[in-house]
């Protein structure tokens, strides 16, 4: 039964969610938080890291407990594990990156309801060993995080003309300073996040035609 740690099958657990089974663009899970936190790059990245921490740890914990969990209360056990981890993340953010935690406000708490996490626990961690579950957690949250960061990048760049809060579009380009450019106000509103996600899905499917349903 012993299998190398980074066998081909294990690496697939990491790479699949980045493309063929991406939680956002293919499974369309976790959309709510993807719309809410991506107006700027920094909260997108913090959200991606937070979800990674929660999902990887929750997967490992549930996988370790998988043979002891009474079947009738397994959803509650999963929920307690997720909720406890989310509270830990929230406390750590409040203590070390206070301004980001203010920005993410309720959305950190809402990681609990992120369907990606519960979905992976139920579908993968309950039936697989800890190491595989860990890889699956990292893979899926990376797939989620990549989309968040791409959306956050475009929304901050075109919506506010900044990246990580630093001006990247020269001041002199703006109409107010006699230029020709204006920030797109729609980019900072959530509907535009949905449109950007839609465009990513379009690009992905036109490259990977397997994903197109008939």
């Amino acid at each position: 039964m012993s299998e190398p740690l980074f066998s081909k099958k294990n690496m697939k657990l990491l790479s699949d969610p980045m493309n063929n089974s991406n939680p956002i663009t293919v499974q369309v899970l976790g959309i709510c938080s993807a719309l809410a936190v991506t107006a700027q790059l920094k909260p997108s990245i913090v959200m991606a890291i937070s979800v990674t921490a929660v999902l990887a740890l929750a997967n490992v914990i549930i996988s370790l407990l998988r043979n002891t969990i009474p079947n009738r209360i397994r959803i509650i056990v999963q929920l307690v594990v997720i909720a406890a981890l989310v509270i830990l993340v929230d406390q750590v953010l409040k203590a070390y990156v206070f301004d980001v935690s203010r920005q993410l406000s309720v959305f950190v708490g809402l990681i609990i309801t992120n369907c990606i996490i519960m979905g992976r626990l139920e579908a993968f961690a309950l039936g697989n060993r800890p190491w595989q579950s860990f890889l699956d957690g990292i893979g899926n949250s990376a797939g989620y995080g990549v989309i968040l960061i791409i959306v956050g990048f475009f929304r901050e760049l075109f919506g506010s003309g900044t990246l990580f809060g630093y001006k990247v579009i020269p001041e002199s380009w703006y109409i107010a300073n006699g230029g020709f450019y204006e920030n797109n106000g729609l980019m900072v509103l959530s509907p535009m996040a949905l449109i950007v996600v839609g465009i990513i899905i379009w690009v992905q499917r036109s490259k990977n035609r397997k994903l197109i349903e008939n």
């Binding site: 809410a36 002891t68 969990i69 009474p70 079947n71 009738r72 209360i73 509650i76 056990v77 307690v80 594990v81 406890a84 509270i87 830990l88 406390q91 750590v92 409040k94 203590a95 070390y96 206070f98 301004d99 203010r102 406000s105 309720v106 509103l189 959530s190």
Partner: protein, 231 residues
């Protein structure tokens, strides 16, 4: 033991909950001092913002210490009483009887003269809203305002904490010509009020806007005696 039996299930749930509670409680205690400090810095930043001084998490404490002239608490009759202005918990004060309530005041020396900062607290749609309003030394004209909230809807009620909304308060008056307190109306479209007592409300954030309006009126009413005395 039978894994699907009731005894096992109950025991499992009980032990899990106790373990989780112990972990969360100890982490919360370990991080508390850092979090409290962050909240204090945030409060100083907000107070400074209400007197139109910009600061960030790294320099807020230093600027605050430089600019603050005086902080004290008064009662509803406007008399100075004993108390710690910065650490006064407005939520607890509001729950008290009017004659036991203390009201914090912060005095700042700015380039444009002496300013008085009054902390306010009220209710929005989903949770508390609060803020700091600074007055010129005529005790009537608003010099600056800073509002914040716990969980108002982003894009709607949460707009009260945007600079655009806060700036609308600058130059507005609390008292009319006869000296009567009218406070500031956070108006809906078509609502008629004198320009100097009105700011535009937030579309889609009516309950938050009205909650803020009530907070301004209620809290300025508590401060009224103090304001009259200082005039």
């Amino acid at each position: 033991m039978n894994r699907n039996g009731n005894t096992y299930t109950f025991l499992y749930a009980a032990i899990m909950v106790i373990l989780v509670a112990a972990v969360l409680a100890s982490v919360s205690m370990a991080l508390k001092p850092r979090q409290t400090r962050n909240f204090e810095i945030e409060k100083k930043k907000n107070i400074l913002a209400s007197v139109n001084i910009e600061s960030d998490a790294t320099n807020a404490e230093k600027i605050y210490a430089e600019k603050i002239l005086n902080e004290y608490v008064v009662n509803v009759n406007g008399e100075q009483v004993d108390g710690d202005a910065f650490n006064t918990d407005l939520k607890k004060e509001r729950a008290k009887d009017a004659n036991e309530m203390v009201l914090p005041i912060f005095e700042f020396q700015t380039e444009e003269g002496l300013k008085y900062v009054l902390p306010l607290r009220g209710a929005g749609l989903w949770g508390p809203v609060w803020g700091f309003v600074s007055l010129n030394d005529d005790m009537n004209t608003i010099y600056g305002a800073n509002f914040d909230h716990e969980g108002e809807t982003p894009g709607l009620g949460a707009e009260i904490s945007t600079v655009a909304f806060e700036e609308a308060f600058v130059g507005k008056k609390l008292f009319d010509n006869t000296g009567k307190l009218v406070s500031i109306l956070v108006a809906k479209v078509g609502q008629v009020a004198p320009e100097e007592h009105k700011v535009d409300g937030i579309s889609g954030g009516t309950i938050t806007s009205k909650g803020l309006e009530k907070m301004l009126l209620d809290d300025f009413t508590s401060y009224q005696e103090f304001l009259n005395k200082k005039k």
